[in-house]
């Protein structure tokens, strides 16, 4: 196991941003103390270590906090470079720029769209957000074709930065399917993503880290209740 110093992660098990950081730590074989946070009623620790955003994940390395998941993942990759197999960012500057471009796109466009489905106050709003999410997923299908170049993952033969950034949203796609009956990644419409999603879910890191979608459904219900939305009928 890599010498890691004192490493703590403040997180929320179902948060896609936390999932991607935990997967990165797993890929590097680094051990850490995981501390689950209440993100609705925020505690002292979170407010102390992330005063600017008050969000998870926060990685605390030898007492020094790091915030923002994409930044944390890059930090992990740089502190524990490891062998080629566990390199998260690609080596070539152009490939790195491409990965960062799409990662920014995913967090700017995909996450707010599907979160909007949960937060929607009316059926119309919800339908609009579903449409938005589907449009983004369609673009990601094209991105996958471009980035993978026929290989199994965005990063090539094994998972890398963009796989982590996109992949951590999959558990929520499944949760949204159970809550609202909507499907975002299907073999019919987005065949490359559908196949990639299976492979992503089958990786050791994903199997270790990604919680069952039921946990996300549970959290969604809590979140929606706290936002005073109308209760949701379960889609069977």
């Amino acid at each position: 196991m890599a010498g890691e110093g004192d490493l703590k992660l403040l997180g929320l098990l179902v948060s896609p941003f936390v999932v991607r950081v935990r997967m990165a730590l797993h890929m590097k074989g680094v051990s850490y103390e995981y501390i689950e946070q209440d993100v609705i009623d925020k505690g002292e620790l979170l407010l102390k270590y992330n005063p600017v955003y008050k969000k998870v994940p926060v990685l605390i390395h030898n007492g020094v906090p790091l915030c923002e998941s994409q930044i944390i993942v890059q930090y992990i990759d740089e502190v524990w470079p490891g062998t080629n197999g566990s390199s998260i960012l690609p080596a070539d500057p152009y490939d790195r720029a491409t990965a960062r471009f799409w990662a920014a796109y995913v967090d700017d466009k995909l996450f707010p769209a599907w979160l909007g489905i949960l937060k929607a106050k009316t059926q119309e709003e919800r339908a609009e957000k579903v449409k938005e999410t589907l449009a983004v997923v369609e673009l990601l299908e094209a991105a996958l074709a471009q980035c993978s170049n026929g290989k199994p993952f965005f990063a090539g033969d094994s998972i890398g930065f963009l796989d982590l950034v996109v992949g951590c949203n999959l558990l929520w796609f499944e949760a949204l399917r159970r809550l609202f009956g909507v499907t975002f990644v299907a073999a019919g419409k987005t065949p490359l993503l559908a196949a990639w999603a299976e492979r992503f879910g089958g990786t050791e890191a994903a199997r270790e880290v990604v919680p069952d979608a039921d946990k996300a459904v549970e959290f969604a219900k809590k979140l929606m209740a706290s936002l005073c939305s109308a209760p949701v009928a379960n889609a069977s």
Partner: protein, 237 residues
């Protein structure tokens, strides 16, 4: 200037995001072809180079496009790693801190400035102003951490965060002038280190090369405002 290996920058002179890329190229001493485009009538080149966002800046390096200003700045730093200065430190924690503040500038400062100066209601604008000054206070703290306020966010020489914030200077100055509210963004009383940094930054050769002239920016903003007013007036007749 070092041969830039076939670098083309697609942009518009007034865009702060384009200015960031120009700053990075200037600080690294890289030559490039500047391709000024018309955003009201987007060219094939722009649309094919940035089909996802259809925005500037786009950097073409040996015909391959890179988009998103700070992604481009990191690319320039990495592809031309042998050319000094390095905009990002080689130390992982310092890199993480720089990336954090650069992201913060885009998430919090830019949005709040826009709200402060262009908000639809007085309430909107006032909320924007409040958030803008909170963001500036946080950046003041960051500047103090990085060089005790004596140098730059990058330490003794400019770095990633300096480019991110520096790119905004002419745009912010114009917004300040146009608002007519008397609000001073880089107030020497509220954020003395930042105010001093803006002076220091503007003196750099790279900044003089890349930053659009303040008067030209105000002129440009006035013209745009007049155009927008004309459109409204025409639709009301």
């Amino acid at each position: 200037m070092a041969a830039g290996d076939d670098l083309k920058l697609i942009g518009v002179w007034a865009s702060p995001f384009v200015v960031r890329v120009k700053l990075a190229l200037s600080f690294k001493g890289l030559s490039y072809e500047n391709v000024e485009v018309d955003l009201t009538s987007k060219s094939e080149l722009l649309l094919s180079s940035n089909p996802v966002h259809k925005k500037v800046p786009v950097l073409l390096h040996k015909e391959k496009p890179i988009c998103e200003s700070m992604v481009i700045v990191q690319y320039i730093d990495e592809a031309f790693a042998g050319t000094s200065p390095s905009l990002l430190s080689s130390e992982p924690h310092e890199r993480a801190v720089a990336r954090f503040w650069a992201a913060y500038i885009d998430d919090k400062l830019v949005a709040s400035c826009i709200q402060s100066f262009r908000g639809k209601t007085e309430e909107d604008k006032s909320e924007g102003t409040k958030q803008m000054f909170t963001a500036l206070e946080n950046l003041e703290g960051a500047l103090k951490e990085s060089c005790n306020g004596e140098g730059y966010f990058g330490g003794e020489s400019v770095g990633f965060v300096d480019v991110s914030l520096g790119g905004l200077l002419s745009w912010l100055n114009a917004a300040e002038v146009m608002s007519g509210t008397g609000i001073k963004i880089f107030d020497p009383i509220k954020t003395p280190l930042l105010a001093a940094w803006t002076e220091r930054f503007r003196e750099l050769d790279g900044a003089k090369e890349a930053l659009p002239d303040n008067d030209m920016m105000v002129e440009f903003a006035r013209k745009r405002q007049a155009q927008a007013a004309a459109v409204v007036a025409a639709s009301e007749n």
